[in-house]
Symmetry: C2
Subunit: 332 residues, 2 copies
């Protein structure tokens, strides 16, 4: 049964950073359907997920601001009077961050701190939901992962995500900000960018399968993955901001259904009705940042918000494949 969020979000003024990207646009579609007044901020940074087609169904019902997070003129104005800020706009490339650490700093860290300063002086007690990353945990020694798991970020990107999460919580002391962080794992679904594999390799597998390409499975492919369908993530984002008790804390999210990477590839090929795979050795650059199995205990989130994942993997993959078959020209 689909949840009804209208009562809470009707007429709420909401700012979404990274608003034209995968998560931002999917969230916007949901919020507009609930009657929220939505502003999308996006810097259209090359290679990231911004795509105007993502918001085609609501383009006349949202305010679109094209500006960098570091543009204080834009952010000072647009953070004012917002009831909620969903802070999603960052790159998420593990590999690139190791090749170009300064790119990571310039794209993820500096603009985020400038954005927080903008909020501090223009809407200091805003509720801000920050989308963190499971990667902040890095190479985990004991499963399942939960909020007490020690941090060991395995790449520059993950270390930066952690710093920006620290920043959000420290602004609670600095100016009374009301921050929440959701440490997101592998999310898939419609509206993800499909031009390259740098962000969200799992989504790119769907493109490879649809194109009838051969998918490479590094090593045996037995590492466990949790695949969360984007609509379930949006539910979590909405439920978190509806509950004041969530403020000042970070949350893990996952699914009960674990799947090996190899099985995931086979399922994608089956659902797409196309594609093939072969095993290849691990490339060195991947091995270094590979974090191994993923198994998450998301009971803190569930207990506080009643959230649970509702979309079985096969159904989510089918909906994703259907979307891209229909709108391929906008994403390929």
């Amino acid at each position: 049964m689909e949840k009804d969020y209208t009562e809470f979000f009707h007429h709420k003024r909401v700012l979404i950073t990274g608003g034209l990207g995968f998560l931002g646009s999917t969230l916007a579609l949901k919020l507009v359907a609930c009657g929220a007044q939505v502003t999308l901020l996006d810097g259209l940074i090359e290679d990231l997920g911004a795509n105007f087609f993502n918001i085609e169904p609501i383009k006349d019902e949202v305010e679109i601001v094209i500006a960098h997070l570091s543009d204080r003129a834009a952010t000072d104005y647009h953070v004012q009077d917002k009831d909620l800020i969903f802070n999603i706009g960052m790159h998420s490339s593990h590999l690139d961050s190791m090749k170009r650490p300064l790119y990571d700093l310039e794209t993820n860290i500096i603009p985020q701190l400038q954005f927080l300063e903008s909020i501090r002086y223009n809407n200091p007690e805003a509720m801000v939901l920050y989308v963190g990353s499971r990667a902040q945990f890095g190479k985990v020694k004991k499963f399942p992962i939960n909020e007490n798991t020690p941090l060991a970020p395995a790449d520059i990107y993950a270390a930066g995500k952690q710093l920006v999460e620290y920043y959000h919580f420290l602004y609670q002391d600095i100016c009374g900000l009301r921050p929440i962080s959701l440490r997101l794992g592998n999310t898939y679904g419609p509206r993800h960018q499909m031009k390259h594999a740098k962000y969200g390799v799992q989504n790119y597998l769907i493109r490879l399968a649809l194109d009838g390409e051969q998918i490479q499975v590094f090593g045996e492919g037995q590492q466990l993955r949790e695949m969360i369908f984007v609509d379930d993530v949006i539910d979590a984002l909405l439920l978190l901001v509806m509950n004041e008790q969530t403020i000042g804390h970070y949350y893990c999210i996952g699914v009960d259904e674990k799947i090996s990477f190899l099985e995931l590839v086979k399922t994608i090929i089956s659902v797409c009705g196309n594609g093939s795979y072969q095993h290849v050795p691990w490339p060195e650059e991947r091995k270094v940042i590979e974090v191994g199995d993923v198994q998450t205990d998301f009971s803190k989130l569930s207990n506080l918000t009643d959230w649970k994942p509702t979309t079985p993997l096969r159904e989510g993959l089918r909906r994703t494949a259907d979307f891209y078959k229909q709108y391929k020209s906008y994403y390929w």
Copy 2:
């Protein structure tokens, strides 16, 4: 008995960032005495601890480079061919970092990443000792603090120190860097800057006492402190880089002698033979970033390097007070 490091450090080429500051200059004095070839890099950043008088006794025996850590022309040239790099140059102001988070980013984080990039392309497998901070642990729930204590940085400065530590260890994967981190606590001694209380409040107390001023004790002053004499810290820095087994790890440092802040103030007044104190309420800005008691288990460091603190507090304070009485005009 003083340790003899000459055999190891003789003719070693050493770069010290923050080389004109408190730790950097004290380390340089020791290394020069051991016959090392020392290069001091310092950006002379306003309010930080650089002081040419610190290196007066060795000024003709070291190479002095005045440049920012972010100046790739300078660092690319000077990191080459170094056997060891002691990376000390950062600000350490907890309060300022909360008032001006962007200053922290610009002074501590961006230049540090640029410096690591410089090493990557000019001396990728350098041994780099990074001086981290006890503040990375923040508000600790369980004592003693050791290397397994969860991190909870209580201010922007501490969060940034943690990121830069992560960066150092990630460069082990990126280019084969050989990093070590020492998470330093309250260090006192000669050559600390004495112009303001922003970095190392304990050192500033000595100035207040010598000047016959009244020292403010916030609240009861019962929070426990560990005061490490600078020469003991220098021993730890030297021992860590003499042992290849230390590479890739971070270490806590402390002293067995714990003292309440109030007792510390009384001891300083007694040793200096001047000054007084009064209790005042905690200022709000201090309360937020105050981390409570400090009790450190430094057995990992001791077991690996045989390091132990050798200077009793009263003796260290006496040597510090004597130094500043003699050279007051260079520090006040």
